[in-house]
Symmetry: C2
Subunit: 277 residues, 2 copies
Amino acid sequence: MSDEAGRAFVPGHVTGFFSIHEADDPKQAGSRGAGLTLSTGVTVTVEPAEESSIELNGEFAAVESGRRVLDELDVTARVSAQTDLPLGAGFGVSGAFALGTAFAVNDAFDRGRSENELVTLAHGAEVEAGTGLGDVVAQVRGGIPIRLEPGAPEYNRLDGIPMRTGIEYCSLGELSTAEVLSGSTDQLSQAGVESLVALVNEPTLDTFMRQSRIFAEETGLLTDEMREVIEDVHDAGGQASMAMLGETVFALDSGLSDAGYDATACETHHAGATLLD
Amino acid sequence: MSDEAGRAFVPGHVTGFFSIHEADDPKQAGSRGAGLTLSTGVTVTVEPAEESSIELNGEFAAVESGRRVLDELDVTARVSAQTDLPLGAGFGVSGAFALGTAFAVNDAFDRGRSENELVTLAHGAEVEAGTGLGDVVAQVRGGIPIRLEPGAPEYNRLDGIPMRTGIEYCSLGELSTAEVLSGSTDQLSQAGVESLVALVNEPTLDTFMRQSRIFAEETGLLTDEMREVIEDVHDAGGQASMAMLGETVFALDSGLSDAGYDATACETHHAGATLLD
């Protein structure tokens, strides 16, 4: 066992639309859909320790997906993560935490797992924690991933929109992924599949944004406050929608600031999860 | 049609070992094996033009794979590529050219293809030109790709070694991919599959380098001159092997300069092919 630290960066991910696919095996469970990976993400550092602990932005945190990854890789370690992304707001922070922990542990403890094995671990941890269904497999790919088939790498099928763009976002509050996913989701999944079919027919950013907007409306997840922000962006000539699942509006380029909102800027990320020196 | 230029960067790729898989359909043909993608690569710029032309490092070049991509996407364009990689020396320059052209054309001419569709085009162009079998699918992934199953994205299966490393290389001369691939390759493919099985059992850089060295020896592709360089690197405590297919030695970290050779340094690339601004 090496006693060096391991470090990994994982991009944030906002989903525009999705459908839910349940399965007893967490490797086969997941979601289909599409989203944007973000240049702003989560940096995870892992160091061997007498007892396992998890910190997020300097505070102890009970990140269930991360704890499960430590258990699966059979290590006791101090895991500390830093992020500028808002928490519980639809940016895939728990997925990034799980994936970054898996990559960093494998590196620091010479676990000798392959990339697919680590992604499978992190995806399963997210699914079992109930905190996400598709972020991990998107975050390892980077870019603008289209999730054609759900699940871990052994089962899934991905594609991507070969474009890049500036992004702005603005978070109005939190939304519990676990709570939404535990409700009735048939209508949501039907809307998600329809949006996916439309995107596969025309895999462009325009279609992605348009379908995201339709999905947010049809699923009833859009609050009046978010709708108002999105319409202001449209009125100013931009494109915006809602991050699934958070009370967050995201827009292409400078769409939110053009409409007069105080927004945070980043861009699509082109690498996916990476080990750091 | 946009009249803006499109630009893409594609990492170089050295294959350590491979097996050949023929098929009538170029989407199903390809290779299995493993390699390193490089931070040094090929930058491709595409602009609409009255007549198609292809330049590499400022000189007109007949890059068959690139010409086929232009035809498939039905555009006439001026394609100019820049690279610091040696040509015909096992760095996947023709694959990078094909893939970069596909991404840049799609962007400049708003062709609306998905990433998988562009990779399929570029992979097919390489296979039909006889200049490569596995570079394109590795170059779009980045990192240290393991090609578990051959072919375009619809058919292939990839994994990766989740590690990063410095790399040095030193080219002694050219080797024609088309010539080697047109000879008898049964023994080569058997050795390639054996190396792949060993790497899947232990997906680490150590195993990759050891199996690459065994493959180079067993296939008879290693010349005395390359063997001498590789042994010097080993004697100096490093790890080196031969790039498939070129008269090129590559080593981890500063292996070649530690052994007294004048080498070029780069590192593994973690993004795969990306559009540039």
